[in-house]
């Protein structure tokens, strides 16, 4: 991921936009957002029965 970073602060993840000064939203940033939210779900969600179906079906 080039446009977003994920920082681990123990129980909390910081998802940080790192797309220059403006953090303009283009195709690359959106692709990275998708990867980042998948990673955060994987690394930080211990229990996800309600959302799992929705997430997998997307």
């Amino acid at each position: 991921m080039q446009k977003i970073s994920i920082e681990d602060k123990g129980a909390v993840a910081i998802l940080r936009l790192t797309n220059g000064v403006t953090n303009a939203i283009g195709p690359e940033l959106v692709k990275d957002l998708s990867i980042a939210s998948t990673q955060i779900r994987h690394d930080f969600c211990r229990w996800d029965p309600i959302f799992q179906y929705r997430f997998e079906s997307s």
Partner: protein, 202 residues
């Protein structure tokens, strides 16, 4: 999860110079991906807060709306949704979240006028929950979320899913047609002209 950006801009919104180069097929792919990314953030089964240290313009405010909480800088930064001035509707999901967050009257004012508001006004109408000096902003956001994260996740996730339910159901029923409406607006000639003028400010 804490969502953060820069101190000048949390996000300036859609990258108009880049997106105006896309044909209908590519823009459609981008728009559906963006819509899905917003939905994934909104339905994240974790407590979330956006730390808004810089301007959150249009798409920037939309990203912030996907979080459970919004904490903003005490510095004079702007938030808002100016889409109407550019000739496009606000993404359907963002419209629904905004109305739930600030209430119908304030949401209508923001969406119809398309004006930006500062963080003080945003606090007043409930678009942001708390305001801090920049040097303490992320720390406070982490504290707030870490405290909630200590609760059993099963209970939290169920409560959050209840909060999201009405929006999720409306979104799932209508998002495709709303996305097509957005794309029709985006590719109309007068709107392309307005967007091209706006893109020059980037």
């Amino acid at each position: 999860m804490i969502f953060a950006g820069g101190t000048r801009f949390f996000s300036i919104g859609l990258s108009l110079p880049e997106l105006l180069q896309l044909d209908r097929e590519s823009m459609t792919e981008f728009w559906y991906d963006f819509d899905q990314a917003l939905f994934n953030l909104f339905t994240l089964p974790l407590p979330s807060a956006c730390a808004i240290a810089g301007h959150a313009i249009a798409g920037g405010t939309i990203l912030a709306l996907t979080c459970d909480y919004r904490l903003a800088t005490a510095e004079k930064k702007l938030l808002g949704l100016n889409e109407v001035k550019l000739g496009v509707p606000v993404p359907y999901l963002a419209d629904l979240i905004l109305r739930q967050t600030v209430g119908d009257r304030s949401a209508t004012e923001l969406l119809y006028r398309g004006d930006f508001i500062d963080t003080e006004k945003a606090l007043e109408i409930g678009l942001v929950d708390e305001v801090y000096q920049n040097e303490h902003l992320e720390e406070r956001a982490v504290e707030r979320i870490a405290k909630i994260a200590t609760h059993p996740q099963h209970a939290f996730t169920t409560i959050k899913s209840n909060r999201l339910e009405a929006i999720r159901l409306r979104y799932e029923a209508n998002n495709r047609s709303k996305n097509e409406e957005f794309l029709n607006c985006w590719f109309s000639l007068p709107v392309q002209k307005l967007l091209a003028i706006a893109a020059k400010k980037f």
